[in-house]
């Protein structure tokens, strides 16, 4: 489509970013008082909410429980008002069920599920505003929500997308870049050992460019990991001073008295 | 009408029986229909002395029958009764006391997914099948949990019967050339353990390939197969 417009002469993208620059990431942990863990994540204009309930009893009887590990159940939902045109997305449609499976796969790589045998962990993700890299934002938000819920994790799963425009790899694609038809690679990484837990590519890409694109996406994941770690650290500092035997929910949350969604 | 060795189809009447002591034993594939005996499965009409008749037909799915030796996979090794899958319509149960040397204090070491070679002590259509790894005297005689390092695969039932038949020389010939342990169970499961993974795979493939071989052709088959195995092994 209009790929040539995406990368102008001075190497700036349509939204003014450099090719290896991520969008602004805004995070908030503990947004919902009822959930065991919750998080709100903004990646540029993509806004995602994630909640975690668990570990709790396996729904559907003992037959579905795994005697060795926890069962992770993800439910992905894209609001009708999330894209520029209102469009109802089927919750149990094919795309949603695929995204659910992929989220489960990626989170399974990080969650120490053997510590929660015969339990179920539910992760609900809602896309409130969609502007590209939806899955990446979902996975990052889910990780944050799991951390907020205190579930044991081997590492923080971070996810980043990358695409190739004019033979240059650009990271963290937005909606315009995504829909231009070029190949988009999404990588879910465990940054400590640089192991890829999830990978998906859409579009057509010559095999020679794969390494470049993969490097770019992995670098993006690493940067997101640093940012998230920073934010989690800040969150813990602000809230640790309020730790008492009873739930410290209200004082900490009262500080951010703005509504959860900007 | 139908002679021994003829091909019969379902519905064919059989009436030339040799009666010994006034009794005729009807094996699988033959049913009484009032005064007559008819074949209910397509296959070859067979006879064994003194008075046993049956139809050798092709079947893959096992139907349990009393006193048959089967290989099962343990699906639930908790509690008093182990649940074992024998490839039939229902899972069979195996009491933890039915192992050699097992007492209430000395439980056998059986985990989920283990293979057991057992005998069907109860195989009634009204009751759940029960297995046992010991005979009346409490001896196992080779039954029980199968050791590690083997490989199990499924064959059609008639091949398993053929392998168990005393006249079938296939396993004997293979055994002369290479060291192996083989169990061919009545539910079509064959367990093999040999010196290396390669030999085990080779033997398994050879057995599956010998499904329609006559006894007299088996010697050459095994000779060729063994030459190939030793030629090919590096």
């Amino acid at each position: 489509m209009a790929a040539w417009e995406l990368l102008k002469d001075q190497n700036f993208r349509l939204d003014g970013r450099k090719p290896t620059e991520l969008r602004r990431i805004e995070t908030r942990l503990g947004v919902f008082p009822n959930a065991d863990g919750s998080a709100y994540l903004e990646q540029g204009n993509t806004k995602v909410l994630a909640t975690v309930y668990g570990p709790h009893e396996v729904k559907g009887g003992r037959g579905r429980s795994n005697p060795d590990k926890a069962v992770i159940n993800c439910q992905f939902s894209k609001s009708a008002f999330s894209s520029s045109e209102r469009k109802t997305h089927m919750k149990f449609g094919r795309n949603s069920s695929e995204t659910n499976q992929h989220l489960v796969q990626a989170l399974n790589a990080a969650v120490m599920s053997h510590l929660y045998a015969r339990c179920q962990i539910d992760v609900y993700v809602e896309i409130v505003q969609s502007d590209g890299s939806d899955f990446c934002a979902c996975l990052n938000a889910s990780t944050l929500a799991l951390i907020d819920a205190g579930i044991a994790l081997k590492d923080i799963v971070t996810c980043c997308s990358a695409t190739i425009v004019d033979e240059k790899s650009v990271v963290d694609v937005n909606y315009v870049e995504e829909s231009s038809g070029s190949a988009v690679l999404i990588v879910g990484l465990l940054p400590k050992d640089e192991q890829i837990a999830y990978m998906q590519m859409k579009g057509r890409l010559h095999a020679d460019h794969l390494e470049k694109l993969l490097d770019c996406a992995v670098e993006g994941c690493r940067n997101i990991n640093n940012i998230l770690k920073e934010r989690i650290g800040e969150h813990l500092k602000t809230h640790s001073s309020h730790f008492t035997l009873t739930r410290p929910a209200t004082p900490g949350r009262a500080e951010r008295s703005r509504p959860a969604i900007a | 009408m139908c002679d021994i060795g003829d091909i019969v189809l379902p519905g064919d009447k059989i009436d030339n029986f040799v009666q010994s002591k006034g009794k005729v034993l009807l094996g699988p594939g033959l049913q009484r229909d009032g005064e007559e005996v008819i074949a209910v499965r397509p296959g070859i009409f067979k006879y064994r002395e003194p008075n046993i008749y049956w139809i050798e037909s092709h079947q893959k799915r096992y139907v349990p029958s009393k006193d048959e030796d089967v290989i099962g996979v343990v699906t639930n090794a908790k509690g008093e009764l182990f649940k074992v899958d024998i490839g039939s319509s229902e899972q069979a149960s195996l009491s933890y006391l039915n192992f050699e040397g097992a007492t209430k204090r000395n439980r056998p070491d059986v985990k989920n997914g283990d293979l057991v070679y057992a005998k069907l002590s109860i195989a009634d259509k009204h009751a759940e099948c029960e297995l046992t790894c010991v005979d009346r005297d409490g001896k196992s005689k080779g039954k029980g949990c199968l050791p590690d390092g083997g490989f199990m695969f499924q064959v059609p039932l008639h091949l398993a019967h053929k392998l168990r038949h005393p006249d079938c020389p296939l396993l004997k010939y293979i055994g002369k050339e290479t060291a192996m342990e083989v169990i061919a169970a009545m539910n079509g499961r064959v367990w093999i353990k040999s010196r290396s993974a390669r030999e085990t795979i080779a033997i398994a493939n050879a057995i599956s390939a010998a499904e329609f071989l006559n006894y007299d052709k088996m010697k050459d088959f095994v000779d060729n197969f063994m030459n190939e195995l030793y030629l090919g092994s590096s």
């Binding site: 890829i196 990978m199 794969l210 | 367990w191």
Partner: protein, 440 residues
């Protein structure tokens, strides 16, 4: 019914065998099973047998309204169904997760990579477009359904012919098959999928896993690629962790396998065209990957040189039932491992034959040259006189010498007798070729 559980013994054995680079059916690590592609009488219907996995695809089309956001594009919709016939424990409607995953992978591979030109499916912009639908049914499940389905669907799409249409103003007439020949779809490239299964925490990998190998694998990587080395889709599934090198190694393996699969596809399509033009209803093509054909890049954990050295793999066929016992035994003998002996002997004999054939070809070409020269000399002698004679006499004597060398021996001479064995075959070759020449 419940699925038969995989026993620990089988699981451990398969994993141990993979460590020793042995597979249950004797294949090498990167070999595919026997592939059989059969088209149907209807255009757009294809059945693929990959070993014992059987997959069927059918393409159909109808006219519909395009999306508002894309008024000039048609639709390509892929639907996958796991038939309960495929496996004992499959129930209708139960395998939806797996079926969905497959359908999405195939849609990404075929639709999102622009393999099928959707703009060519436009009839009237904004009003009418063709809606293509590929229905895939898994008939027998023995692992690696994705590769089989990808091959099947792209073959069906290439095979399919849509009805011809004429647009006159606002009216669209769809011509039936009798009125006008249906036209093929516009397909830019042929993407195919390769599934690579990982074992032992990613240390070992295999292509084309069978059902039992799939049960013990850590996870798999699905790579969709076309023969121009363009990756159409990449997907990792299962609970495993990979590093960058492993991913790149997979793409190298896939590159090689895609070329093979592409050959299979092209041969099958041309076999079908030939069959149809010669009056048969449809064509079939069978590909047997007996030799190791992978020359993949070196990998740290898997030494390809060993595999290349061995260069043998066998396939056990299981459709022996229909044939009589003798044929069956012969087939059994053919299909069992002992064929390797015959093959190795046959290879030697073949090599000998090849050398003899090449020599015979040389003889024949020289003979042909001689005969041409002879004819020329005859013509020249008849029309001209001494001037030409001188030249031709040399040629004649040359040819005569050669002919004297060759004539008395109808059988090729000492060179071939030294090789002994294939004498008869060599003579039959010469006789055959001489016959051909006479025919000319």
């Amino acid at each position: 019914m419940k699925e038969t559980p995989l026993s620990n013994c089988e699981r451990n054995f398969i994993l141990k065998a993979i460590e020793n680079k042995e597979r249950l059916d004797g294949r090498q690590s990167y070999d595919y099973r026997r592939i059989k592609l059969e088209f149907g009488i209807d255009r757009g219907c294809c059945t693929v047998e990959l070993g014992e996995t059987i997959v069927m695809a059918k393409v159909s089309c109808e006219v519909g309204q395009p999306k508002q956001t894309r008024p000039t594009e048609g639709f390509l919709y892929i639907n996958v169904e796991f038939s309960p016939m495929a496996e004992a424990h499959f129930e209708p409607g139960k395998q939806t997760e797996q079926a969905n995953e497959m359908a999405r992978v195939l849609e990404r591979c075929l639709r999102d990579s622009r393999a099928v030109d959707l703009e060519s499916l436009c009839i009237m912009a904004g009003a009418k477009v063709w809606k293509l639908r590929v229905d895939i049914k898994i008939l027998n499940y023995d692992g690696n359904t994705i590769d089989a389905s990808a091959l099947c669907s792209i073959a069906a799409l290439s095979h399919f012919r849509r009805p011809d249409i004429t647009v006159s103003g606002e009216e669209v007439t769809i011509h039936s098959v009798d009125e006008k020949d249906p036209i093929p779809l516009s397909i830019h490239h042929l993407p195919l999928c390769v599934t690579i299964a990982f074992f032992h925490q990613g240390t070992y990998c295999l292509t084309d896993p069978i059902s039992r190998e799939e049960k013990v694998m850590d996870g798999k990587m699905i790579i969709g690629m076309n023969k121009h080395r363009e990756i159409c889709t990449l997907q990792m599934t299962g609970n495993m962790l990979l590093n960058k090198e492993q991913v790149l190694r997979c793409t190298n393996i896939a590159t090689v396998k895609i070329v093979e699969l592409n050959d299979v596809l092209q041969n099958a399509l041309s076999a079908d065209e030939e069959a149809r033009s010669s009056g048969k209803p449809y064509g079939t093509y069978v590909a047997d990957f007996r030799k190791v054909t992978v020359k993949a890049a070196e990998s740290p954990t898997h030494s390809m040189s060993e595999i290349e050295e061995e260069a043998r793999s066998m396939q056990l066929d299981s459709d022996r039932m229909e044939e009589s016992e003798e044929e069956v035994v012969e087939n059994v003998v053919k299909n069992s491992w002992l064929l390797r002996i015959k093959e190795s002997k046959a290879n030697e004999a073949q090599k000998v034959k090849d050398t003899i054939c090449s020599e015979i070809d040389e003889f024949l070409t020289t003979q042909r040259e001689m005969s041409d020269l002879q004819q020329q000399s005859i013509v020249n002698n008849s029309s001209k006189n001494n001037g030409a004679k001188g030249q031709d006499q040399d040629a004649k004597t040359d040819t005569k010498r050669k002919r004297n060398q060759n004539r008395p021996k109808k059988k090729p001479d000492t060179q071939s007798t030294a090789k002994g064995e294939s004498l008869d075959s060599a003579t039959s070759q010469t006789k055959k070729s001489k016959g051909k020449r006479k025919g000319k």
